[in-house]
């Protein structure tokens, strides 16, 4: 069939670029390989290599532009566009659509490699050829992920320019596609609503730049091994390592901030496999940057200097494999689905693992060995220990996160522990303590050898100050019965004070040189914020409904939900809360909750309102988003865990005027019953009432019930009548319209002197309610401030390093 209106041109161009990008990356890698040989031909090889890498770069940008044109113009004939966008979506989310899918995120990653490669072409001087050979090879592997060609019936890569109907021939059975002009009526599936926020615009590019930056120290390390220049590679790679640490760290932290602000995880870190997959390379990257720093000052422990930057890049590949092969499946909420590329990803990973092992193994015997061990009281020794701690800490996280991999490899059936978070925290807390203590003392050690007496004298002020400060905070947070918390608290406080002391007394306030100390303070404050906000997290929402869950056993006492009925005011922590109702805005339903505190005279003072929301999406499922009130010293974080959305929607259709099913109440005079909005008392029964308004015949028996109906402000009366007419019961009902109530008098039971009143309520009376969770995170701002300080400090350190590098070059 000929289809009308398809824009196949742009896809063909894009596809051409995909092939070009792969071919040129491969060519660049080969020619850089020969250029690195340093023989007569290497100069001409280098020329070819430079041109081919630039052509590769142009091709990658060509792919990016083609994909943008397709997304911008809603070309739903392409599967990627159909899959990740739709017409209704605001255009500001076009970037999010671009990298929502696997192909787009690979493209983002490749793009950053291109940018880094182009910078390295200009700056890496005599390292260009061997470094760029590795980077080009990495690019060839990444470009192959977009190829989407079949080799021996095995598909290589997933192509973003696939045309929907050609990829899914089965779709042609759908009536829509039977028409040549199907495009006129086709709309995309749209972007997952969870991802429609600004975080999705800034988080992925930052994180992927962080991922991409790990390739530079890796390529330098490989080049160092290959060219047997075992120590020289460190100097040019060092600023890149710190740049990468800064960007990757920012990316990971942004993920945490996103989770806290917009997702209902109930916190900023859940030890989710996908989070861990990017945290672990950051930890080893920090270790790598520090051992590289040691190597600059005392060229020792070469093995670990090579191991850590190489491992960091391999862990990024491993993370890619974990999150994109579908192997995490059940254990993570936000892993990608399998696109049938797990085999390819595994080859990619194993290739570089093998390359690294072989290169290190060949060269290890040639590593120069220092006869002399580094001194116990030297800075390099303790920095080395710190890096090892980070390595061991990442090993623990990786091993546990990889459970699904072990299950597959060894055919186990092990499921993660019930409380994964607690398990990780228990393990990581000691590592954090050691790291922080090392951060505190590290800079007070001198390279080679430190005079211990001077060291102790210098440290003593901050040590004592920290002890006092820790005791004070421990007292106010009640940490005395939790020694490990107190220990971590002390370590974080000590690290902060000691580094501040270093800036003031040793560096004399020279901020330019204080990059390391500032970022260390940032890290210490971050850990302080993590400790206090996590250990003192307080669920203020408690189940205040009568029935206790405790009777079912202590282990099930997760009593952290509260039921709020519209209009009622309940106590929640130090607040009184009222659910005032819901608002519909587009696909979002906001649940407005007011928070009050009590004044001294008992009146209520409104503090603030929060509107946690539920995003409705019939195709992808409803999603709850939290709403948080930020104060300087604490946050009130709330999210809706249950709202009866189904009956809400059903209710909109039918008339609210209808009465609900009747409820029957046997009553004696003086008895009280409750409706949802009133108290009803049976005052009396009488046969002697004014019957003029009724048309009774002589033989009829009629009894009137006098009901007093009280709501909070007013008093009403209802008078249903029990009538027997020709031996049939024909009661006359009575309404209280302002309250939407209707009473009927059905039965008289002379034996026990009771009558039966049936009560009907209008459907609108069933009041709306939500189930909500609310918690207080104290001092979480310390965490965020720490993050920012750490980033600023790292930037200062990079600037200082670049500056000294320039001075060194001039002096040469």
């Amino acid at each position: 069939m000929e289809y009308v209106g398809e824009h196949l041109g742009v896809g063909k161009v894009g596809n051409l670029f995909v092939i070009f990008s792969f071919v040129f990356a491969l060519l660049a890698s080969i020619s850089y390989f020969f250029a690195a040989k340093e023989n007569d031909e290497s100069a001409s090889w280098k020329k070819i290599a430079r041109i081919t890498f630039r052509l590769h770069g142009i091709s990658v940008i060509g792919i990016v532009v083609s994909l943008f044109i397709m997304l911008q113009n809603h070309y739903f004939e392409y599967e990627y566009v159909w899959h990740h966008s739709n017409k209704a979506m605001p255009m500001r989310y076009i970037l999010s659509c671009f990298w929502e899918g696997q192909e787009g995120s690979f493209l983002l990653w490749t793009f950053w490699h291109v940018i880094l490669g182009l910078i390295l072409q200009r700056t890496s001087k005599n390292w260009e050829a061997p470094v760029m050979a590795t980077i080009s090879l990495v690019q060839a592997f990444l470009a192959s992920m977009l190829l989407g060609v079949f080799v021996f019936e095995h598909r290589i890569g997933s192509n973003p320019f696939t045309v929907l109907l050609r990829e899914h021939p089965d779709f042609s059975n759908i009536p829509l596609f039977g028409k040549p002009d199907y495009l006129e009526k086709l709309d995309g599936r749209g972007l997952n609503p969870l991802l429609q926020n600004y975080w999705m615009t800034i988080h992925p590019p930052t994180l992927f730049l962080g991922f991409a930056s790990t390739v530079v120290p890796f390529a330098y390390a490989i080049a160092g091994l290959w060219k047997k220049r075992y120590s020289e590679w460190v100097r040019p790679a060092l600023p890149w390592a710190f740049f990468g640490v800064m960007i990757l760290g920012t990316g990971v932290l942004m993920g945490g901030a996103w989770a806290y602000e917009a997702l209902s995880f109930g916190g900023f870190w859940a030890w989710d496999p996908v989070e861990n997959a990017s945290l672990v390379p950051w930890l080893t990257f920090v270790g790598a940057a520090h051992v590289m720093l040691i190597n600059r000052n005392s060229p020792q422990s070469l093995f670990i200097t090579f191991l850590l930057p190489i491992l960091t890049f391999l862990l990024i590949l491993y993370a890619t494999f974990l999150t994109r092969s579908g192997i995490l499946g059940e254990s993570s909420v936000h892993a990608f689905t399998d696109l049938g590329m797990s085999g390819q990803l595994l080859i990619y990973l194993l290739f570089f693992v093998f390359l690294a092992i072989v290169l290190i193994a060949i060269n290890m015997k040639n590593f120069p060995r220092n006869k002399e061990e580094e001194g116990l009281w030297s800075r390099e020794f303790w920095m080395f220990v710190g890096s090892i701690v980070l390595l061991v800490s990442s090993f623990q996280i990786t091993f546990y996160t990889s459970m699904p991999v072990w299950n597959k490899l060894f055919d186990l059936h092990r499921a993660p522990a019930k409380d994964v978070v607690a398990f990780y925290n228990t393990w990581q807390l000691p590592f954090a303590v050691i790291t922080l203590l090392l951060i505190a003392v590290g800079q007070f050690f001198k390279y080679k050898h430190t005079d211990l007496n001077v060291f102790i004298k210098k440290m003593s002020y901050s040590f004592i100050a920290s002890l006092i400060f820790t005791a004070f905070i421990s007292y106010s947070l009640n940490y005395f019965n939790k020694p490990f918390y107190a220990l971590l608290l002390f370590a974080a406080v000590f690290a902060t004070i000691a580094n501040a002391d270093y800036i003031l007394r040793v560096l004399k306030g020279n901020v330019k040189k204080a990059g390391a100390s500032i970022s260390h303070i940032g890290f210490a404050l971050m850990m302080l914020g993590v400790l206090i906000s996590t250990s003192k997290k307080d669920f203020i929402s408690q189940n205040t409904s009568g029935k206790s869950v405790e009777s079912l056993g202590k282990e099930f006492s997760n009593n952290d939900n509260i039921l709020l009925t519209v209009g009622d005011t309940l106590t929640m922590g130090k607040y009184l809360v009222t659910y005032t109702g819901k608002r519909y805005e587009g696909i979002n339903i906001y649940f407005d909750v007011d928070y009050f505190t009590k004044n001294n005279d008992g009146t209520l003072k409104k503090e603030f309102s929060l509107s946690p929301l539920v995003q409705t999406n019939p195709r992808m499922g409803n999603i709850a988003e939290p709403d948080t009130r930020h104060y300087l010293t604490f946050d009130v974080y709330t999210h809706v865990t249950y709202a009866d959305l189904e009956s809400l929607q059903a209710k909109k259709k039918e008339s609210l005027d209808e009465y609900d099913k009747a409820k029957n109440f046997p009553m004696k005079t003086g008895d009280t019953i409750f409706s949802s909005n009133a108290i009803i008392i049976l005052d009396s029964l009488s046969t002697k009432f004014n019957k003029t308004n009724y048309h009774f015949s002589k033989d009829d028996i009629a009894v009137m019930a006098y009901l007093r109906v009280l709501d909070i402000t007013k008093k009403y009366t209802a008078t249903p009548i029990f009538v027997i007419h020709n031996n049939n019961i024909q009661p006359l009902s009575s309404k209280v319209d302002p309250l939407g109530l209707q009473f009927s008098f059905w039965k008289i039971d002379p034996q026990n002197g009771k009558i039966e009143i049936s009560l009907q309520e209008k459907k609108e009376n069933t009041r709306d309610f939500i189930v909500m969770q609310a918690m207080i995170f104290p001092y979480i701002n310390v965490l965020w401030i720490g993050c920012i300080i750490m980033i600023i400090g790292t930037i200062l350190a990079i600037m200082e390093r670049l500056r000294t590098m320039k001075i060194n070059e001039k002096n040469k």
Partner: protein
């Protein structure tokens, strides 16, 4: 003995510790029958919601109690009492993972955690006509 050797030994000790505690800190994916056989242990059970039978959630009585019936992957069905709120979009779940213990003489599985896999989130829906 050199300092590096001491460090190496410490690393190996900690690594072994990490591996062992990890292995001890996992539960197993199991069936209702296995959970019935050892009611003291905690299990992960994977299965599907029985959509024929009723689900009970009355937040006005208890917002942290939700009852439903699930069929595990071996086909055994059991009543499940979840000590949490009813998850949003529960009926749409394709697969459920429960974490908990068998109680009431093996008649009720009491779960403290639930993980759901919703097909809708990432899976391809078929193209639809624009309305």
């Amino acid at each position: 003995m050199k300092k590096t050797h001491i460090i190496l030994i410490v690393i190996i000790a900690v690594a072994i510790g990490a591996i062992l505690t990890t292995l001890n800190n996992t539960s197993t994916y199991a069936s209702f029958q296995e959970a019935k056989d050892s009611p003291d242990n905690e299990f992960h059970i994977v299965g599907k919601l029985d959509k024929e039978k009723e689900t009970i959630y009355d937040p006005k009585v208890n917002a942290n109690l939700f009852t439903f019936y699930m069929r595990d992957n071996k086909g055994t069905e059991s009543k499940v009492v979840l000590h949490k709120n009813k998850p949003q979009d529960f009926e749409r779940s394709e697969q459920i993972v429960l974490i908990g213990k068998m109680q009431m003489n093996g008649n009720e599985f009491h779960a403290s955690e639930i993980l759901m896999k919703c097909p809708s989130k990432y899976n391809d829906g078929k193209p639809q006509e624009d309305k």
